[in-house]
Amino acid sequence: MATFIVRRLIAAVLILLAATFLMYNMVAFSGDPLEDLRGVQTPQTAQLIEARIRLLHLDVPPPLRYFIWLGGIGGCFIGQCDFGMTIQQQPVLNVLLNSMDQTLRLVTIATIVAIILGIVIGITTALRQYSSYDYGVTFISFLFFSLPIFWFAVLLKQFLAIGANDWLQTGAQIDWWVIVVVALVSGLFWMSVLGGDPKRKAITFALGTLAGGLVLGYMSMSGWFLNPRFILFGLDFSLLAIAFLMLSVALIVTAILAGIKNRRSLMIGLGVAVVGIALYYPVNYYLFNPQVVPMNFWILAGLAVVTILVGVGAGWVFGGDNKSVNMKIGGWTAFLVGAIMVVDRHMQLWQAYSQSGYIRGRPIATIGASNPGFSQSSFFVQGVDAFTHLLLPTIALMVISFAGYTRYTRASLLEVLNQDYIRTARAKGLTERTVIVRHAFRNALIPITTIVAFDIAGIIGGAVITERVFGWTGMGSMFINGLNQVDPNPVMAFFLVTGALALLFNMLADIAYAALDPRIRVS
């Protein structure tokens, strides 16, 4: 494995070298970097041109200038990074460091959300093949495939940001007919996803419609969208809702991984959830209190690891004779319970955030990656701020790759379900859950890993467009500005980061492929 990774790394570096050489020359030959200076005739023009030529080494022909640039990049290995200067005489490295964070955050979140949603919906469509749900999702994914991302982004800006802000400002009440339509749609959705005989379908439909209608009606009446808390008679009963949510998460995780009839697993899942509920107030008053713990991303990530380890430990201690499955249940439940707490901590701040002076009741942002007014605020306020800014670009970016993932997952799961070993598993009398989760799903994942790698390139390209529409000053705008001014250095910095990211994901996909599929030998 080690030799495989080393070989792939060397190949990746060589490919990146060739690709950067190609890009550098294409950008350098795409126009005249002195055009803006040549247009004006002032006494200093000659001087300015001379200065720019010296700054950007324009007297060296591009193929050779590439090696000057490469030498600067090579300096990174000895601690002296030099990405060159932009045409405005700023070091590219500073520009890059300022913009990289936003773009990578956008790309990563969009990718992860698209993968999770795409795989879940792909699996359900494959299991309900040729149902109306399947056909509906198929059509929608075709539609998403054909959406021009910039057009969709402008639509989002109009309806989901401006429209939603207007709606939030005017009291966030939902019209009764919207509630009815959404309730019916949710009923139909659950009916076709859960399936069964007509009687069961009718019951599912009724329950789904009722639940959807009640939840939405409550949300509308209590102004949930203005202050997402569960308030009854003026008292905050949010813990009740959260407890319900955590217990159902534990139930779902157990149902997927071990089956609800497995008492021991169910107890472990529910036990982890109960621990989470018991810790709700301590965590909120101490751990998530910025005056007690100066929270940042790394502490949160560390807490997540600790939480998962505790869950896994619970599965190990109480796991009985089925330790591995119970450890998984414990770990997943603990992670999701913790995630609910983090989300809830943000939701507590929503009302204060949207009524603050910088926001004035119009929380969904259309421009920029963050609101500078909150740069001194606590981690969680900044989290809410990041959410309102990331929401629209992430949806715009996600939509296209989401369509790809659903189609792929569906196809791959259907192909696996048709294999002989699935028939054997069914013939042995295994439950449908075991067949799908243990035998089919894992093998269906193998081909999906490869398109994740492919998709990264598409998402980065989409990020360039999305950043433009939403006015982010990320790497995409650095790329576009550099290209417009025939300035190879920022363009190359953009490409170096994204190209390295694409190659990294490609390599991870190869490794994952080898790890998932024992038929593939990587030596």
Binding site: A19, F142, F145, L147, P148, A411, E415, G461, A502
Partner: protein, 379 residues
């Protein structure tokens, strides 16, 4: 007894399937089979009709303008004319799609943009497919160092996101017009197809018919073009359609960013880009070009889906599970009744058509391996 009578028609559902199977091996050529299957896919057929209508509309309405050649169309306005804005440019009888802020007729603009998009789509598809087939075929067939060199070259190009390389190309060649832009875009769009064709060739060259051809003394060129390539045609055609749909979106995206088609010429992406701020006041400037992009891309994607179903017999669409279950029940009933009702013409027909019993039912998920493979390297 009477309850069974309505069901006696059901076996014909499976008969139809069975008859189709029979017809497919009844001396039809590959092309005929593919055409037959394609025309059964109503989504693809509808898309083809819609696409044809759009092509006719786009090229007849505002005429053709290619270099010095200028053929006027039947539409009153041109995309270069600036008539006086009527009523603030809202859609009217005179200007059904409305007018933009300086009075240009939006219908003429959109039609011209559609022409550009279609031309770019076809050129990128043709050029990309040709290069992709040649490179994929060479590296898949000869393997060894040819394969290594060509595939490393492909890796280099594929590392650069298409929209990024397209922007670089556009900033160089965009001024030279959409035609040149399309050709250069095509020169960089072949990578995904080359990989797929290589994969096809790698597996096909190990098959017996290739050995047979070689033993019979066929040259390498003949084996590649006459024996392997026709068998890889399905994958190639399907992925070329996907490439074309991607090309439309890439072109509009590039024009939106300002690296595609440049004024005074126009394109669908450029119209949206120039008017995105006007969404509040003149939404029609935004809806029409967007709708045309989506409809064209959707048509191409559906045609690609139909072609995939047509080319790969493994991936045939199956009747729904319920229909098959009903057919099974009906067939079983029919089989039970056949003994004493064979004189009934309906049952006789069912019996002749080897009405499949429960065992004859196709495996549930046969095929439909969707093959949405084909990388979608696009923006």
């Amino acid at each position: 007894m009477t309850t069974n009578i309505p069901q006696t028609n059901e076996p014909h559902v499976t008969d139809a399937e069975a008859n189709l199977e029979l017809k497919e091996i009844e001396g039809l050529s590959q092309g005929q089979i593919v055409r037959k299957r394609f025309f059964r896919h109503w989504g693809a057929v509808t898309s083809m009709i819609v696409l044809a209508l759009i092509i006719i509309l786009a090229f007849t309405s505002v005429g053709i303008s290619a270099g010095p050649v200028r053929i006027p169309g039947w539409w009153a306005w041109d995309w270069t004319q600036n008539p006086r804005p009527v009523n603030g440019g809202t859609p009217s009888w005179e200007h059904p799609f409305g007018q933009d802020s300086i009075g240009k007729d939006l219908f003429a603009l959109v039609m011209r943009g559609t022409q550009q998009s279609l031309m770019i789509m076809v050129l990128v598809g043709l050029i990309g497919a040709t290069i992709g087939i040649v490179i994929g075929a060479l590296s898949g067939f000869f393997r060894g160092w040819v394969d290594s060199v060509l595939m490393r070259f492909t890796d280099v190009i594929i590392t650069i996101p298409f929209i990024v390389i397209g922007a670089v190309i556009g900033s160089t060649f965009g001024k030279l017009g959409a035609f040149v832009l399309a050709i250069v875009l095509g020169l960089f769009s072949w990578t995904g197809l080359a990989r797929l064709v290589r994969g096809e060739f790698l597996s096909l060259r190990e098959r017996e018919f290739v050995d047979a051809a070689r033993v019979a003394g066929a040259s390498n060129g003949r084996i590649i073009f006459k024996h392997i390539l026709p068998n890889a045609m399905g994958v190639i055609i399907v992925n070329t359609t996907l490439l074309m749909a991607g090309a439309i979106l890439a072109e509009t995206g590039l024009s939106f960013l300002g690296f595609g088609v440049q004024p005074p010429d126009t394109s669908l992406g450029l119209i949206i880009s120039l008017n995105q701020e006007a969404f509040q006041t003149r939404p029609w400037l935004f809806w029409w070009p967007g709708a045309f992009i989506i409809v064209i891309a959707l048509c191409i994607n559906f045609i690609g889906d139909g072609l995939r179903d047509a080319f790969d017999p493994r991936q045939k669409r199956m009747p729904s599970e319920r229909a098959m279950r009903q057919a099974d029940v009906a067939a079983a009933d029919a089989a039970a009744l056949r003994g004493h009702e064979a004189e009934d013409p309906a049952f006789a027909a069912a019996a002749d058509g080897q009405a499949p019993g429960p065992d004859a039912r196709a495996p549930r998920a046969e095929g439909d391996t969707a093959g949405d493979r084909g990388d979608r390297d696009r923006g």
